[in-house]
């Protein structure tokens, strides 16, 4: 089994697990009262069945098919940078505020795309974040978290 087949198997198996969860969970939905004949469980059951059938089909297709040995080259480090950037951004969005949180995100994404100058990236990201912040709050009336810059912005 080569790597592409392994990845596809992993994906299909996860979807099978999800399908089983939906199947199991659908039985727990409260039926509620009223004269609705179908009830809130029918569609979830249908979707669970659909997920199970299509993921099994995908599994079979994947095993039958031969893949090029070097179909995809996946680099891990960029993924780690982006993932940590995303987690940092969710955690800091409200405490630090929009401007600083997305500047941090911008630096991490730039690093993932092989930028080697984090200070310059931070500068570019900060300028972008400040411009975007003012356009969308003062200009377009949205509310974005101010965070620790509350007094300054």
């Amino acid at each position: 089994m080569n790597r592409q087949t392994r990845i596809e198997t992993g994906f299909a198996v996860s979807v099978i697990v999800l399908g089983l969860y939906l199947l199991y969970g659908s039985g727990d939905i409260n039926l509620g009262s009223g004269y609705d004949r179908i009830g809130p469980r029918f569609f979830p059951y249908l979707i669970a069945a659909g997920l199970l059938i299509t993921s099994l089909m995908m599994l079979l297709e994947s095993w039958q098919q031969r893949h090029d040995t070097q179909a995809l080259s996946i680099e891990i480090f960029p993924l780690v940078y982006i993932a940590s950037g995303l987690i940092l951004c969710v955690l800091t969005l409200e405490p630090l505020g929009f401007v600083l949180a997305v500047t941090l995100l911008f630096v991490m994404i730039s690093r993932a795309f092989k930028s080697t100058r984090p200070l310059r990236d931070a500068g570019v990201g900060l300028v972008l974040a400040v411009i975007v912040y003012y356009i969308f709050t003062s200009g377009l009336g949205l509310v974005l978290p101010e965070g620790i810059l509350a007094g300054i912005m």
């Binding site: 004949r37 569609f43 994404i109």
Partner: protein, 494 residues
């Protein structure tokens, strides 16, 4: 010719100064995001939804339409100059267009694409003007059973067309349907799959899913590929066609348009099929078939026209039936719902200003796009020089901004990022993401119509098979579901 009168009313709305301005903003943004890899019209409209809360719906839709058409123009520029098609409709354009650009004929390729897009967009919009009201009249007789059957047909055809194999398209569709179930059931008020999380009671907004799948999923995928950036071909001077190039282009433009509009208008949707067909036809009809594969102008003119006419065609089922057949159309449907409007036959009766203002603005937007793209193509091409760290960093800043602004909720942002990881996994295993977005928005509608139909029939499922339109649509849906696997099986047996 009732349509013409209504269209004139539409022009009187679309030609108001502020609406012209919104159309201009739309085509400008649309061209830009069409050119930039990694961001397309679906993502752009999704990100702009929160901004348009306070806008009047007519202006918002005029801007969205500009983004939609503009994205098609911009996509061809990237295909030709960078050989990386921005969206699936421009795959074929890259084939011949990039070869032309490499042999120093970039400006001719850009010009035939831009003028072809204009011709096709105009023909497509004219066809839309007359086809839409006619179809809307027919759809007035649709009841819940017919709507359910129609959505089922859309589900099966869209999923079989998109993706490497039908099972993958359908898997994506069911993932979208599963996401759509989360939240309070509209009929009974019961919570479904909310995992005890309060923010999930209202359901997941389609923008959260679309932005996650398109922006974050795509960014993760591209960052993990060690492939270097492609070579950008420079264009200098004006883009224009010589007499010979023009005479080789105009017939493919017309043929592509006539091919693209009806196929785009089918409930299957998809802009790729007409572009493939157009390419095959032009290759057969060309007086110089040996040039194909080396930069034949017909191979750019025809598919590019087919792509744009199909884009106009997609608006027919969206406006008249409320059936989106592309990711961008699905987001536009979400935009209609945001303004408490339901596209379908009644919108032509209840909101004629909106519908006809929108259609009229398509004519205007198309003209703006021709003017913006033809002489200014080299200027637009400079957008391709934005370094990818800043491009994707910027895309994620906007993705975070747009998602947060939906409900001012950090929960939504986190959820969007997680759905992005799902989108990345789907990319890795060749599962298309568009059916998930379409399933997510149409799933709750399908369920509602299904349950309504059975309430009318007092629980008798025969209602779906005894009403002729519903029975036909379900028959077609079943045929679409089984025909592709059967055909493939038969092919392998041979």
């Amino acid at each position: 010719m009732e349509s013409l009168g209504l269209l004139m009313d539409g022009f009187s709305i679309a030609l108001q100064w502020d609406n012209l301005l919104w159309a201009f903003v739309g085509v400008l943004l649309g061209t830009a995001v069409g050119i930039l890899p990694g961001i397309g019209p679906a993502l752009t409209v999704a990100l702009l939804l929160p901004v348009t809360y306070s806008l009047n719906p007519v202006s918002a839709f005029i801007m969205f339409a500009g983004i939609y058409y503009g994205g098609m123009y911009g996509g061809s520029t990237t295909s030709i100059l960078l050989n990386t098609p921005g969206e699936s409709g421009s795959i074929i354009t890259a084939l011949e267009g990039n070869k032309m650009a490499r042999s120093g004929r970039a400006s001719a390729a850009l010009a035939t694409a831009a003028i072809g897009s204009f011709v096709a967009g105009t023909i497509g919009t004219i066809a839309l003007t007359f086809a839409a009201p006619a179809l809307a009249d027919m759809a007035l007789v649709f009841g819940p059973a017919e709507y359910f059957a129609l959505i089922a047909l859309g589900f099966t055809t869209i999923s079989s067309v998109l993706g490497k194999t039908p099972s993958r398209g359908l898997l994506s569709l069911f993932l979208g349907l599963a996401l759509g179930v989360i939240g309070i059931d509209l009929q009974t008020g019961q919570a479904r799959f909310t995992l005890g999380l309060l923010p999930l009671l209202d359901g997941i907004h389609v923008v959260v899913v679309a932005v996650g799948l398109f922006a974050v999923g795509e960014t993760l995928f591209l960052a993990s590929q060690s492939k270097g950036a492609g070579e950008i071909i420079n264009v200098k001077g004006w883009t224009w066609l010589s007499r010979d190039e023009l005479s080789r282009s105009w017939k493919p433009w017309i043929r592509g348009s006539l091919l693209g509009f009806p196929i785009g208008g089918l409930p299957t949707g998809g802009a790729e099929i007409p572009t493939f067909l157009s390419y095959a036809i032009e290759k057969r009809l060309s007086s110089k078939p040996e040039e194909f594969g080396k930069g034949a102008i017909e191979g750019v003119a025809g598919p590019e026209a087919a792509n744009n006419a199909a884009a106009a065609g997609v608006l027919v089922p969206l406006l008249t039936l409320g059936l989106p057949t592309s990711a961008t159309a699905a987001i536009m449907l979400a935009a209609f719902q945001q303004f408490n409007l339901q596209p379908g036959p009644l919108i032509f009766i209840n909101n004629p200003d909106l519908v006809w203002g929108l259609i009229a603005s398509l004519y205007i937007g198309n003209l703006m796009l021709l003017i913006l793209n033809l002489p200014l193509a080299p200027l637009w091409a400079r957008l391709l020089k934005i370094p990818s760290p800043y491009l994707y960093g910027g895309i994620l800043v906007f993705a975070t901004l747009g998602t947060y602004s939906l409900n001012n909720s950090v929960f939504d942002v986190g959820l969007m990022y997680m759905i992005g990881v799902l989108g990345y996994c789907m990319r890795l295993v060749d599962v298309p993401v568009a059916p998930a977005v379409i399933g997510m928005i149409l799933g709750p509608m399908a369920e509602q119509q299904f349950r309504r139909a059975l309430a009318i029939s007092q629980g008798d499922p025969a209602i779906f098979f005894t009403r002729p339109i519903s029975a036909t649509l379900l028959g077609l849906a079943f045929f679409a579901l089984v025909s592709v696997p059967v055909y493939r099986y038969w092919q392998t047996r041979k």
